[in-house]
Amino acid sequence: MSADVLAFWFLAIVLVGSALAVVLTKNLFHAVLWLALALTGTAGVFLLLDAEFLAAVQLLLYAGGIVTIVVFAIVVTERLVGERLSQTSRRIGGGAVVAGGVLALLLNAMRGQPFPAARPEMAGDLTRLIGETVLTRFVLPFELLAVLMLAALMGAIYFARPDE
């Protein structure tokens, strides 16, 4: 077993474990911390695949930005509501059955799927390549994302602001 494979299995266990903890923890604040670990683990998977840029973006945006915002949201909401928020998972049995079913389907599908044994080499400066692709082949979705964010921002402001 090479170092790559070992690292993958380590990350996989961390990822699945922390993801389960996010859903099952009662304490909402702890759930967010587990989420931060899960997002960091994802960054680790990107690193393992030699995608350093994506790993950095993942850490900065998700583990950094989004987790911070969620923590703020929880703290502010608890202040407003005046009680500790806790997470309840109702119908956990049904959820487990569905999740198990999807897992079985996936494993079954993967067994019949020939996968390439070796990962193709990534050539050149990846960050530069990503930048170029985004502004050439994927220029339409890239530009549309600007409109999408504007629309999402408008929606958030509309619901958040009090009526005059």
């Binding site: 082949r137 994302l145 408008m154 929606g155």
Partner: protein
Amino acid sequence: MTFETLTLLVPELALFALAVVVLLIGAVRSSAYVGRGPLAEVSRGPAGWTTLLGLGATFILTFTVREGASLLDGAFVQDSLALFAKRLFLASAAISLLGSLTLRTGAFSRRSAEYHFALVASLLGMSVVASARELVLLFVGFELMSIPLFLMTGFLKREAVVPEAALKFFLVGTASSAMIVYGMSFVYGVAGSTMLSDIPPPLRDGPPLLMLGMAILLAGLGFKIAAFPFHMWAPDTYEAASPPFVAWLSVAPKAAGFVVIIRLYLAGVGTAALVWTPVIAVLAGMTMVTGNLMAIPQRNIKRLLAYSGIAHIGYMLVGLAALSSSGVAMMLFYLVAYTFGNMGAFLVVQAVAQSEQSDGIDAYRGLAQRSPLLALAMLLFLLSLGGIPFVAGFWAKLYVFWAAVERGMYGLVFLGAVLTVVALYYYLLVARRMYIDAPERPEPVQVPGLLGVAIVACVIGVVGMGLYPAPWVTLAQRVASTLFS
């Protein structure tokens, strides 16, 4: 970007420009200028009127696009299906706007620019979805279509049921988007490319992981078109939102979903797509059964129309299940007939709700004596939805069943025909309220002028397609034939 690529994107660029202009109107509009005559009308709702004008202009501009051209190695195509869908989106949005322009109270007077910006942004998303032949573009388009819809659903946020309905719609919508992107990831993993043209046709002996990805994708799309078992959000959402918006919501996003289903599962695959027949046929059957049976006990007209709308999605899926050129053509015909009938019915609901402050079916008591023309319009819409001869819905159902019979799907057609009778029962319950029951109040229902125009447009559509369906059939067949060549 050469000049030619820009001419190809004209409808999208026009919508984008319109969105910016509408947003700016909201920003600069200060004290209301009140002119005289028609100007006064316009000055009271500048964002709405600008949007209406812009939609008309964009509709005309769609005819300048060279049909069949594509962009970015075929990631974005303006083929006849895309242009057909775009015109349907624009026309239905204009009809819905005529209805919502008469809403002048509360949020609709203060925050009109936000509402209309969301409408145009969603339209831009739809029109990208209709043209996308690449997974990333498709997903971004879907999001751009959906997110403004959440804002529009919750637009009357101060009313009691609205926040809950908007939140439900938001949660279901995001979950379905997550499913779509999850399915796409498997498809990409197998195909090694996000271009639809590079994805191997999903055949019976195809890679199992690809089939699984396509199945998860289909489930995500099922949410968007509100097919069984992903239909639960529709009645709550329809009940809470404003009727002219619901009229559009019940038509345009579903049309966009159908276009994507056609592109992903049918186009260019030919008879090899037969592997999907049982899946889509079962979905169609279950959707028809659920929609029609759940509609019977409803006492609220919007919930009744929501469930009947789910049933209609089932009938359209019958056309898709035929997996043939004529099946797709007949489904597109059905889509247009459903657009006129369903939008018309919701606009009458708006007129009655504005005058009676009630969405109950009981509010329709004696409508024929109070406002005979409005009642007649509603009757025509209901008969069209029910599938009675000489209105559009009759041909739509007949054609869809015909296409399914050609494929030997007698069981599905039998089920559909039986359920049509069930549907007639609950449509005629409303008709009985209007025509047989005595009115509680004598005065007629006030219909604002613009709303009247929109209702008349839908009546013309329903009756016109019913008496003379040939041009629409020819158009639908022409659009469908390009997909199966």
